[in-house]
Assembly symmetry: C2
Homo-oligomer: 159 residues x 2
Amino acid sequence: MSCSPEKRKLVEEIGLHFEKTHQLAPLAARIYAIMILSPKEGHTFDEIMSITEASKSSVSTQLNLLLQLKKVEYFTKSGDRKRYFRGNKMYLKNTLESYLVNISEEIKIVEKITTFNASYNPEKYEKIGKVPMIFKEYLLRQEENLKSTITKISEIQNK
Amino acid sequence: MSCSPEKRKLVEEIGLHFEKTHQLAPLAARIYAIMILSPKEGHTFDEIMSITEASKSSVSTQLNLLLQLKKVEYFTKSGDRKRYFRGNKMYLKNTLESYLVNISEEIKIVEKITTFNASYNPEKYEKIGKVPMIFKEYLLRQEENLKSTITKISEIQNK
DNA sequence: CGTTTAGTTCGGTGAGTTCCGAACTAATTA
DNA sequence: TAATTAGTTCGGAACTCACCGAACTAAACG
């Protein structure tokens, strides 16, 4: 049984974080946390059940969701009917790519707001001045930061 | 009555965005969107009711929530019993500051994961190599970007 | 063949959320 | 003083969500 109290505590904490940042149900977030904390060897379905203390059906549903989202993958061992689940090796890259989508959405929203204000509230728009522009510049820098980080990670993982 | 079909559509769209990014109920998110699209003049309670087509009680509850979160503020006009609601002038700065909190949390989480893996899974940790380090560098750059943007906005708004 | 293993699928259930109407309050006006 | 205005508060209806148990399937084993 591979679960120290320390790991259990970390699973709880990282789970809470993943619930927010990846918009996952509590159980899915905890399963994902378990995967991240065991980078290579993989866990069986039963191990996940016993660590999370959740039911078979819940583990099945949430695990399939994580597989579908490509946050988790599995491998098999010959002469062993079980599947071994682990975090997708590209999980950090995938995380960054989803951040990139969010940033692009936010840039579009900011553009729509400034366009609207410029044409419908020109006099008020003048008063707000440079703030939306500075915000957009911030978003563009962040987009750049994300893109270059994704490239760096890809270079390492594809070699 | 200050509500073109274009504005209504934008309110819907930005509302959906705010629901996710600010974790607000649909109605609260729409009210906040209305405030952002009218930077200065302010809307009365009744205007908000008629734009959102929501009930008095719902508008009251969600508006008070937004006031409490300092996303919205109000002013009054002498000889007029109504309150005029508008987006908090510091809303972009406040938004960025909440991002900053999230980034700091994420940095802590990444540190905990790498520490855990370094001590409990040293051999696997070796194989993942530089990826978590690159991720942390990305987060630190983003933190820096946020901090300098907040400073810029403060300089403009405090003068 | 019957049984075990490794899951999946279905029909709830309990908790939480979002919104509403109705009754209320507190200040203002006629 | 009665009525209006500008909200607030309360109780509940309708809905969603996360999870569960029980019954199921499909492959492998004895």
